[in-house]
Assembly symmetry: C2
Homo-oligomer: 328 residues x 2
C-alpha cells in the first residue's frame, strides 16, 4: 500500500492552485449565531469557479501530471460537478478532455461541460457502463483517467479549502472546535481534514452524508468498508457514491471523527437558511454539513464550528422546493 | 454650501470599518465573460453583514459621532435595508437605536431589525408621516437622526466598497473601464465613485435605476434635480427615493457618468443569472447594475467592468418569480 497523503501534499496543491481557484469567503451571521448559541462559519465553495470545489482537485491532478501525459489528454465520467471542474481545469491548462456523461444528465450541466471545451460522450445509463467507455477511450488514446475522488492528487487538491478555512478562522481570531464537509466518496472531507489539522491540530473534522447513503459513517463505525443499499433516491444527487474509496477510507479512519447523517428535509431547510441568512445558493449535496450544524447533530452551542457548503449547481425546481418549506 | 466629500473621507471611513464590515468578494464567471465578450466582475455586497451594503454607511456615521451624541441614541426610518444596517451598527457600538417602520413592512424585516436590539416604532403609511415621528423622537430624546443616504458620513461609508473594488481589480491585474452601482438616493453610487476613482482615476462610474424611478439619470441629463412621477410600482423596493439628495446630487454631477435605466423584467433576468452562474441571492434593487451590464446598456464587450450587487434581502415569492423566467 502506498503511504497516506499528508499535509505537505496539500500545501503543494495550494501552491499549484494559487491564482487559479478563488479563495472563497468564510462567512458568519450574527442572527444564526445567536440562535445556535455559538459561532457558525460557512466556507462558501458554491462561489468557487464552476460552482463547486471540484476544480481544486481536478486542476491539482492535471498540474501534477507529466507534460507527456498531459499531451495525451484526460478522460473522466460524471453527471455533475466533477465533469464541470475537470472540463474547466483542462481548458485552463490547454489539455484535451473527454467526459462521459449519462444521456439523461441535466441539459445545463452537459452544456456547461461543453462550454469549457470538453468533448462530451453521452451514454445510456441502463445499457452501457461509463467506466467501460472511459477505460476504452483511455486505452485507445493514451489519455489519463481522472477519478472523481479516489486519488491522492484529487483529495489533496480539495484539501486546499481546508488550509483556507484554518487561515481564515485564525485571521478572525478563532480556534475552530470542529469542521464538517459533505461526503460522497470522501475526497473533500479527508482532504479538508489534512488541510485544517495541519494548521489547527485540535480541530475535529467530520463528514456529512444523506440518510440512506451513509456508507462512510457506517464504515467508520464498523471499521470496515460498508456499501449503501441503494444507488439513487436522495435529493443530494452529488453524494451518491456507493462505498468509501480505497485511498480515502484508510485516511478517513485516521483523520475523521464520527460521521453525520441528515435527512432530505433537513437538507432543504438548510438550503432555505443559506438563501435567507447567507444569501448563498447551495445545492442539496452542498448543504449536508450545514444541515448537520443547524439540527444539532454537529454541536455549535458554546463552540466555533465551520461547515463547507461545497456547491451551488442546483436547478430551479429543486431550489423552489427548498424555498417552499418556510415563509420569508 | 459645505465642501463636497473627498476620497480622503472615504479612506477615513475605511479605517473606521476595518474588522467590522466584510471585504466582500469580487467575483467573475468564465461563461458570462465569453457570452458578453469582455470581463464582468460582481462586487457581492449581498454577502455583507445584514445582507446589504447599508451597514457601511450606518456604522461610519455612528463611529464619526461624538461620544456625547452617541449616548443620546440614534433614530432612523426605513422599511428595509437601512433599518437593518442601522440597527446592527447601533448594536455593535452599544448605541440605543429607534427605527420607524411602516406597519405593513415585511414581518421578517421588522423581526430582523428587532433582533439587532433596536426599538421599532410602527406607523400607518397612509395616516402618519415617518419623518414627523422620527423628528419628534429626536427632539424629545436628543437622539441623532441617521438619514439613509443624504449625508457625507453615509455616502463615504458606502464608498468603502469602491476602494475595495479598485484594490481587488488591481490584485486581479485589471484596470476597470467602468463600475456601476444601484441608485436610490445616490449615496452608494457617489460614494463608490469617490472610492474607485481615488485609486483608479480613469474608471467611469455609473448609477443604475429602475424604469420610472430614474430621477438621477434625468437630473444628470438636465443639470437640475428631477422628481419621479410615482412613489411606488417597481419591483425594486429599495430604489424608490423620489429625487436625488441635496448632498449627493452636486457630487453626482461631478463624479458620475450618464445614468443607466433598466426594466423590472431585465432585473428579474439578472437575478436569475446571479442565481445560476454566480450562486448569489440578489434582491431586485440590488440587481439593477448587473441588469444594465447584461443588457448592453453598460457596455462590457472588449472592456473590464464591475457592478455592485448591493443587497440580497428578498422574499421567497419574488425570488421564485425571477426563477420562473428561465429554465435551469
Amino acid at each position: 500500500m502506498s503511504p497516506l497523503p499528508t499535509f505537505a501534499d496539500v500545501q503543494a496543491a495550494a501552491r499549484r492552485l494559487e491564482g487559479v481557484t478563488i479563495r472563497t469567503p468564510l462567512l458568519e451571521n450574527e442572527r444564526v449565531n445567536r440562535a445556535l448559541g455559538g459561532r457558525l462559519f460557512i466556507k462558501a465553495e458554491c462561489l468557487q469557479r464552476t460552482g463547486s470545489f471540484k476544480l481544486r482537485g481536478a486542476y491539482n491532478f492535471l498540474a501534477a501530471m507529466t507534460d507527456a501525459d498531459r499531451a495525451k489528454g484526460v478522460v473522466g465520467w460524471s453527471s455533475g460537478n466533477h465533469a464541470q471542474g475537470l472540463a474547466e481545469a483542462a481548458r485552463l491548462m490547454g489539455v484535451k478532455a473527454t467526459i462521459v456523461m449519462p444521456s439523461d444528465a441535466p441539459a445545463l450541466k452537459v452544456a456547461n461541460t461543453r462550454a469549457s471545451g470538453a468533448e462530451v460522450i453521452l451514454y445510456d445509463r441502463v445499457k452501457e457502463s461509463r467506466e467501460a467507455i472511459g477505460h476504452g477511450i483511455a486505452e485507445k488514446t493514451g489519455a489519463t483517467i481522472v477519478p472523481p475522488y479516489d486519488h491522492p492528487w484529487i483529495l489533496t487538491g480539495q484539501g486546499t479549502a481546508g488550509i483556507e478555512i484554518a487561515e481564515q478562522a485564525k485571521a478572525a481570531g478563532v480556534t475552530l472546535d470542529a469542521v464538517a464537509a459533505p461526503c460522497s466518496g470522501g475526497g473533500l472531507a479527508t482532504g479538508v481534514a489534512l488541510g485544517v489539522q495541519g494548521l489547527s491540530p485540535t480541530t475535529a473534522v467530520h463528514a456529512g452524508e444523506p440518510a440512506g447513503f451513509d456508507d462512510l459513517a457506517r464504515s467508520l463505525a464498523s471499521g470496515t468498508k460498508q456499501k449503501n443499499d441503494k444507488l439513487s433516491g436522495s435529493i443530494c444527487d452529488a453524494l451518491l457514491a456507493p462505498t468509501p474509496g480505497d485511498v480515502t477510507f484508510p485516511l478517513a479512519q485516521k483523520v475523521l471523527g464520527p460521521g453525520l447523517v441528515v435527512s432530505d428535509d433537513e437538507v432543504l431547510d438548510a438550503m432555505e437558511l443559506a438563501f435567507r441568512e447567507f444569501k448563498l445558493v447551495v445545492e442539496p449535496g452542498g448543504a449536508v454539513a450545514l444541515a448537520a450544524a443547524l439540527t444539532g447533530k454537529l454541536l455549535v452551542k458554546g463552540r466555533a464550528v465551520a461547515v463547507v457548503c461545497s456547491g451551488g449547481n442546483v436547478d430551479h425546481e429543486t431550489f423552489k422546493r427548498a424555498l417552499g418549506r418556510a415563509k420569508a
